[in-house]
Symmetry: C2
Subunit: 192 residues, 2 copies
């Protein structure tokens, strides 16, 4: 579809507002960090009304989670290479590239920011948004693993991939260790 068609399609305005709001959130996170801006500031930056944001996203926490999910889906989409080994190696390599890049700790920062320990409404909303982000990525990973099972391959559970492929990579980056391609491939091979 060319640009003219894209801007004409029904829902074009909604998509444009979505993009503006996502862009505003990304800019505010990078300038101030999580927890240091409000829905009103996102709305002002995006040129929309506060009420549009609340109506569409419900809360700042849900908006933050959606922006993070969009980033993950764009930068580490679930591959479909035709084999489980190919899918997991590709996925792990994409995640490794993403988390060793500029602001590679974005997802960890978000999870920390959303994980309040209090019992108030904002802390509850934060934990809910974190959980729904986690659940959505788990569903995507499950689909990739289901395709393997449908092809007759033996697949691990999504949480095994989290525990033994994703978690080590995240913790190594968090503590300043290098991720070599050999190391990343080794994590996948060990799991398979």
């Amino acid at each position: 579809m060319d640009e003219r068609q894209r801007t004409r399609r029904p829902g074009g305005r909604s998509a444009r507002v979505g993009a503006q709001v996502h862009q505003a959130v990304t800019a505010l996170i990078s300038e101030r960090g999580y927890g240091h801006f409000t829905v009103g500031e996102v709305a002002a930056r995006a040129g929309v009304a506060d009420s549009s944001i609340y109506r569409r996203w419900g809360s700042l926490e849900d908006l933050l989670s959606e922006v993070a999910l969009a980033r993950l889906n764009a930068q580490s989409p679930m591959p479909d290479t035709g084999s489980l080994s190919g899918d997991l190696h590709t996925y792990a390599a994409n995640v490794a590239r993403e988390i060793t890049g500029p602001d590679g700790l974005a997802l960890v920062r978000l999870a920390v920011a959303l994980t309040g320990t209090g019992t108030g409404q904002q802390d509850r909303l934060g934990r809910q948004a974190r959980d729904s982000l986690r659940d959505e990525r788990t569903r995507q990973l499950q689909s990739m693993l289901d395709r393997a099972v449908e092809r007759g391959e033996k697949a691990p559970a999504p949480l095994d991939v989290l525990d033994h492929v994703l978690a080590p990579m995240y913790i190594r980056v968090l503590f300043g260790m290098e991720l070599t391609p050999g190391y990343v491939d080794g994590l996948v091979d060990r799991l398979l």
Copy 2:
């Protein structure tokens, strides 16, 4: 040693200052979060001169890292049970208890705060402090594993413990998942 002896021993003043400074740092982290207080504020809270802090700790980053290490050593010390399996199960259970408790994400928060992506002096100091904290804990873990080898047991490398026991627990807590004793024991059993 009773309280009277403790306060009389050589180095008693230095130990007292150390404790006051650690307490001040812990309080400021909990009130304001990392990155939102200065050496001057730590000094004022602890009732010592700024210069004493710089002389003893070098930088705020090194002080933060020392406080975190002291907390880790107090709350998840390396066990010495007489067997590798006993040591690793005990260690993993201690870490699990610690990171599921109040402010269990303290170490993750610190690592995120110390991992600046810039090239300025403060970012460099932060990364150095993070690396020296990691290296010190790795040395402690290595000693525990060395004891197993001396007893004739076959031990994993410290980074295998990090990758396949510690990392999954941290990532699960970060994303709001429960750590059951069975799960934690299973991680250790799988590694051994």
